[in-house]
Amino acid sequence: MIEGVILIRDNIKGGALTETTFLVLLAFYKPNHGYGIMQFIERETNGRVVLGAGTLYGAINTLLKKKWIMPVGNENIKNKKEYIITDIGRKAAEEERKRIGEIWRLATKIIGGETV
């Protein structure tokens, strides 16, 4: 019951990011483009997460709309579009880091494993 309440409040506050969103956001701490992001995520998750191009396109557009990332350099150049994380984006990423940390500590306490 209590978990249910926390879950609902969490969702209403818009707390949790999807894994795709969070990973893509992390990939933008350095200027990056579509293909670079896909490689970054595949490398950093040891191949566990391989984003489809359509999903990645959707994620980038969502982040742009939320102003969590912005274009870098000259947009008129017909080159691959590069983006970088904004201050709002950093804030969102930091909140998500804390949230995951909380869950990780709770899970470790109950399930056991590495000490916090």
Partner: protein, 210 residues
């Protein structure tokens, strides 16, 4: 060696994708495609693989942007039509699309409802949509297009029963029209149900998984 094939797909997503992959398996690589014509050139069997993506729910500028993105990701892309409509200077309403995608013009987004994507076969699956939310919304986009086709066809089917509307045509033609429209509507209803069931399954999964 080039090969020209004349073909039209009612099963424009999966059917077309499977067929293109079968052709690639036999050693034919897509070079160009028209409304009903596919031009292939020889390649190593299984050198390439294909995916078909539905973009008719997007506005023309959005779908162009998406195509450019996919090109940058290293895919070769082709635009493909769903309809068989040979006209220029035309405006079409797509009730199933989002925002400006509802208006399709020719030249423009009309007859460019699909993207055919090609990549080198590298052992990894050719999956464009990898998270549940995104899968649901992509299935929803073409489920809705089938759904609106059903609505339009049912309207047409109903019209065949209205006395006076087809009065100028012969009784035989009215009978044939009824059957044609009915069969087409039934096939679209099946597709609508099929994709709705897929969406339902994914939604159930998305309650616990991402």
């Amino acid at each position: 060696m080039t090969k020209v094939v004349l073909r039209y797909f009612f099963d424009f997503m999966e059917g077309q994708e499977k067929w293109l992959n079968r052709m690639a398996h036999k050693g034919y690589r897509l070079k160009r495609c028209g409304r009903m014509v596919y031009l292939f050139e020889s390649c190593q069997p299984n050198e390439y693989e294909y995916a078909v993506e539905f973009v008719a729910d997007k506005s023309y500028s959005k779908s162009k942007d998406y195509r450019q993105f996919l090109e940058d990701m290293g895919f070769r892309t082709f635009t493909k039509n769903i309809n068989l409509n040979f006209s220029l200077g035309k405006v079409r309403w797509r009730p199933y699309a989002r925002g400006m995608g509802q208006i399709a013009t020719s030249p423009g987004g009309f007859n460019r409802e699909l993207l055919i994507l090609e990549k080198k076969r590298d052992g990894k699956p050719f999956q464009l949509h990898t998270d549940l939310d995104d899968l649901i919304s992509s299935y929803r986009a073409f489920r809705n297009s089938y759904f609106w086709a059903v609505i339009c066809l049912l309207g047409l089917f109903a019209a065949t029963f209205v006395p006076g509307i087809f009065a100028y045509s012969s009784a035989l033609w009215r009978y044939v029209a009824k059957i044609l429209v009915g069969v087409l509507a039934a096939s679209f209803i099946i597709s609508t149900i099929k994709y709705s069931m897929i969406i339902g399954g994914l939604k159930k999964e998305s309650r616990t998984n991402e």
